[in-house]
Symmetry: C2
Subunit: 307 residues, 2 copies
């Protein structure tokens, strides 16, 4: 075995948030249970945003309550501001996921604050959470870390500056996200190395998109730099809001196939994961689920590391 | 610039051979001209097989004749036996592509000869070509080098034995092919290293499929071992005959995007390649063309190495 890799499933949050057709709460809960039964121990189950902005996420508190009944599951919830963080804390999440844009222009367009100013707001959120009786892990996602649809290339120095400031602001873990899928393996390597130099193991995870077809190549590049946590989305659910028809998150099924084949134990039972995917098809728009392994079938040569 | 990488476009042969709808000769020729104009200098234009078996390839000699008019294009043609090799020689190809299956059972099922016995037949082909007045480069493709749909896993030792025998049989270049798309980056690394130890730079190229979504990750693994030639298929044309709906060859468009982004000059003008793809859509079945870059558009951050 080459080691262990943690795959966090973000389908119920990141995958679903762009799906217009509302998924009933009980279906979401069955999905999360299925993912857990397939071996996933880290699941981002929803987002504490305004239900007016994202109706699909209106039942997140109820989803978290159900997810917390699953013994052994780490329940992640996204919160974009203090109000959301309070709701996430109240709901009982184990891990709070806070987004930040490393691109200053993207940050201003999104939250009306520049990147460094937004980090100060995140510091306030982290301090508020720290002052509560229950411990919550605080993960900050440095979005647009490999390029931005508004300002184009994002200098590695900007990513280093932002992650250093996040480290200073008290983030437990820092995630680098290729929000629009512009990354390539050399950029992943260079960025990961620079951020590791700045904040060490505080950099824990990559959130990659498959927009240009490079998602798993980029994951490989991260793996080679010592990254041992990746976000994935069952069936690659979730598109790119800026490019209709373009693919979104990397496909958990294919990611697990790659990692296990290479000798990295993920704890995920790939046939079971494909069954969950199959069961969820009826509840998702036609063609929403992508992926190589699901289309071709698991090859007879598959020898998972975890087995 | 990190170096140069040669991308060989195999769309007109490998991509098209599974397409039932016959493409007119003049359309194929326009396609090849378009690919050349977009910067591709190595194109596999057809296959010298029985027109009864593959009607789509019946006009290969005529295609080769037209392709030879394009000054600066290296014209590749596939030949599976001596009869095909004679026809390919007669047609005037610059490079003859000879397939061999590294999987003994697959080889027997395909050509009624075991792998080593088939290599002796290939030796005869190479000797016949060498005895002709015109020099032709002889590339042998070691198919099923990363797994086989019939016998499953293919031991690296078998790949080494076959490629060593091909070296002895006089092949100019040896290509390792992931015919059914079972490869993963660790297997690519291990196999390429072992074959390089056995035959050195005689191993020139990888022919990869994207069946499990790992095509570009596998290409990255090969690149990291010093491989500087890859086959690609415009729009990933060509499926997997064993798995309907599964994807086939790696997408030339996305491969070029990855290589150029990483600093490897391919000579390919990506916007021009996408225009060729767009022009060819009407001549191909609906949905035949896949690819990330084509769906999402070339990002503003794209900075090709060759520019």
């Amino acid at each position: 075995m080459a080691g262990k890799v943690t795959v966090t499933e973000v389908g119920p949050r990141d995958g679903l948030q762009l799906v217009a057709q509302l998924m009933p709460t009980d279906v979401k809960v069955r999905w999360i249970q299925g993912l857990f039964d397939a071996g996933l121990r880290d699941i981002e189950v929803g987002s504490f945003v305004s239900p007016r902005l994202v109706p699909q996420m209106a039942d997140t508190a109820a989803i978290v309550a159900e997810a917390l009944r699953i013994d052994g599951l780490r329940v992640y919830g996204l919160a974009a501001n203090l109000k959301g963080a309070m709701a996430a804390y109240e709901a009982g999440v184990h891990v709070m996921v806070i987004p930040l844009s490393v691109s200053d222009r993207h940050s201003r367009a999104n939250v009306n604050k520049g990147t460094l100013e937004h980090i100060e707001a995140i510091r306030d959120i982290i301090e508020w959470v720290r002052a509560q009786p229950r411990a919550v892990r605080m993960d900050v996602v440095a979005a647009s870390a490999f390029g931005c649809s508004i300002s184009g290339a994002v200098p590695v120095a900007d990513v280093v500056r932002a992650t250093r400031a996040l480290d200073g602001a008290g983030a437990d873990r820092i995630v680098l996200a290729d929000t629009v899928g512009y990354a390539h393996p050399a950029l992943v390597r260079d960025t990961v190395r620079a951020v590791q130099d700045a904040v060490g193991a505080r950099l824990s995870k990559l959130h990659l998109h498959d927009t240009m077809g490079l998602g798993l190549a980029n994951a490989l590049a991260g793996l080679q730099e010592g990254i041992r946590e990746f976000d994935g989305c069952m069936g690659g659910l979730g598109g790119c809001p800026f490019a209709p028809g373009a693919s979104g998150n990397i496909v958990t099924d294919d990611l697990v196939f790659m990692l296990e084949s290479m000798g990295y134990a993920t704890g995920v039972d790939l046939p079971a994961l494909l069954k969950v995917r199959q069961a969820m098809r009826a509840h998702l728009p036609d063609g929403a689920l992508r992926g190589g392994v699901a289309a071709a079938g698991i090859p007879a040569t598959y020898a998972p590391a975890g087995a």
